[in-house]
């Protein structure tokens, strides 16, 4: 059994235009884009937003990482699709269209966040949060959590190896049994995390933690003229889209739905019934 790290949101050092932007600019981008995405339930506008984000992945040269990480979301996508198609309220005449737009919504959100986390160094993020008046202790906690993800992943793998070697089978049994199976992983992991936290606190205190009222930083974030240009562009786009959505109203083509014969609800119900029978749930 192997644990694979969640690579979609892992920072990779690269030398691109986007990587050089101030984290605050990118944070602004993530927040406004997410708000925009959540304004739409119609398929066409969501797809347009999604497609508009893709070129940024090319600029940041993370398209390959993104495609690889999308594989990790296939299961989630299938679940969203099935739930929305088969359990949508009876008054929704276009469940498949709705399901598709929910999927593109998810993809657009994931892509936006992936763009952020892959291009912003976690230390810079912490720094940005301090600049945005968050207390240093909080931003420190966030970067430290991030710092210890690989360490904990490695440790979890070592515990899994040790326990499997004693004959523990994590994947065996029904659902409840499987949850119980994980106790031999979770207890040692938890205890070791507590021990590590203690050691970390000792090390921090040994490096003058809390000495000065006002802490200084080796790197100070600095907004460049380019950051301001980007922020203005993001703002204009955001206001325009909101204006179209709520004041002008969406044009008819934006409300396009799949033709009724492509709606999967009836076929799907039959498939689902078959699966349920098969599994004897």
């Amino acid at each position: 059994m192997m644990l694979s790290p969640l690579s979609a949101f892992e920072f990779k050092r690269k030398n691109t235009f986007i990587h050089h932007l101030d984290p605050r600019t990118l944070l602004y981008f993530v927040i406004l884009t997410s708000i925009l995405i959540l304004q739409f339930q119609q398929l066409i506008p969501v797809v347009i937003i999604f497609v508009a984000i893709i070129p940024l992945l090319f600029v940041a040269r993370i398209i390959r990482e993104w495609i690889v990480s999308l594989k990790g979301f296939i299961f989630l996508i299938l679940i969203i699709f099935f739930i929305n198609v088969f359990f949508s309220p009876a008054n929704n005449p276009h469940p498949t269209t709705f399901a598709l737009s929910m999927i593109f919504r998810l993809l657009a959100l994931v892509t936006t966040f992936a763009l952020f986390f892959q291009t912003v160094h976690p230390d810079d993020l912490g720094q940005a949060l301090v600049k945005l008046r968050m207390p240093y202790e909080f931003s420190w906690a966030i970067t430290t959590a991030y710092r210890y993800v690989p360490t904990l992943a490695k440790e979890a793998q070592q515990i899994i190896d040790a326990q499997m070697s004693r004959g523990i089978e994590f994947q065996k049994g029904n659902f409840l049994k499987r949850i119980r199976n994980y106790i031999p992983l979770i207890v040692p992991l938890f205890i070791s995390a507590i021990k590590r936290a203690w050691k970390l606190a000792e090390a921090m205190d040994s490096k003058a933690w809390g000495a000065a009222k006002k802490r200084t930083f080796l790197y100070e974030l600095q907004m460049s003229p380019m950051d301001y240009v980007i922020i203005i562009i993001i703002t204009i786009v955001f206001i325009s889209v909101i204006y179209v959505r709520y004041i002008l109203g969406l044009p008819a083509w934006a409300e396009w739905t799949l033709p009724p014969e492509l709606e999967l609800k009836e076929i799907g119900k039959w498939i689902l019934g078959y699966i349920v029978n098969f599994l004897q749930l």
Partner: protein, 291 residues
């Protein structure tokens, strides 16, 4: 006057146990010494280290400390921890738990940042520390991308950035492979020789550590049972180190056995070239005089 550490009648017990972890410790340490501490696990070495940099009493507040520890003129009970840590740098056993930033450079900057130093000063200190432990090429790397030996060098550098006069290391090579251990011990020796930093190190690998040691302390059951030059270890009037669980380097064991058989040597060597020279020049003649 040139005692940089003065310890008087030190005793400490953790809150969880009434039995003191260390007791009856009186000790003076001169500037520039290289002190190796040995002893069984659980003999109080780690506790002793924590008394030197002020973690005891400031971090372990539940415990009871008696006696006094003075480092570079500061009584550790009367000064806050962050003041003491600028005199005494502490490196721990587990490298993963003492590196908290996401790059080497920022990890080294952590201490000076806490002090609120101006950015130019932080930069100077970071560069200096990177140079001292020879890791400038690693500055952009994340801690989990480094080998154990490299991680431990980063830990040393991040402590040096506070510009301490004393460096305390609690089993810094216990988790390392031999190549990593040699690297780390070489760096430490360099700091003592070139920067005149006083070194106090807990180390099991005596065959490596004793080569540079000016003084050896052996602890047992919370007390100091040996405090002298390493050479005196094998003299007849001293309880053998093995009694206290200290493993003699095989080189020393060899010399001890030869002496048991009636040979005598002008000095006890802790490094190989010297040992070879002594054997070649003295072994034959020693026998001929004894016969």
């Amino acid at each position: 006057m040139d005692n940089i550490v003065q310890i008087r009648d030190l005793e400490f017990s953790y809150g969880t146990s009434r039995q003191p972890a260390i007791r009856e410790i009186d000790l003076d340490i001169k500037k520039g010494e290289y002190i190796v501490i040995a002893g069984l696990s659980g003999c109080g070495k780690s506790t002793f280290c924590r008394c030197l940099n002020g973690l005891i009493p400031h971090f372990y507040r539940a415990g009871v400390m008696k006696g006094s520890v003075t480092v570079d003129g500061l009584d550790t009970r009367e000064h806050p921890l962050y003041e003491i840590t600028q005199k005494v740098g502490m490196v721990f056993q587990d490298p993963e738990s003492q590196l908290m930033a996401l790059t080497v450079e920022r990890d080294i900057a952590f201490g000076p940042e806490n002090l609120g130093l101006p950015r130019e000063e932080i930069r100077i200190r970071v560069e200096e520390a990177l140079e001292l432990v020879k890791i400038a090429h690693l500055r952009e790397r994340a801690p989990h991308e480094l080998s154990g030996g490299e991680q431990q060098r980063v830990a040393i550098a991040s402590v040096l950035a506070l510009q301490p006069k004393i460096l305390v290391l609690d089993e810094p090579t216990a988790n390392l492979d031999p190549a990593g251990a040699v690297d780390v011990l070489n760096i430490i020796e360099n700091l003592q020789v070139q920067k005149k930093i006083t070194v106090i190190i807990v180390e099991h690998r005596l065959e490596l550590a004793l080569q540079s040691a000016t003084r050896l302390l052996i602890m047992h059951d919370g007390t100091l049972v040996f405090d002298d030059k390493p050479e005196r270890l094998i003299e007849k009037d001293i309880t053998p180190a093995e009694v206290y669980g200290v493993q003699m380097p095989s080189l020393i064991q060899l010399f001890t056995q030869l002496m048991d058989e009636g040979h005598s040597f002008s000095q006890i060597p802790f490094n190989i070239p010297l040992a070879a020279a002594i054997i070649l020049s003295e072994l034959g003649s020693a026998r001929s005089t004894s016969e």
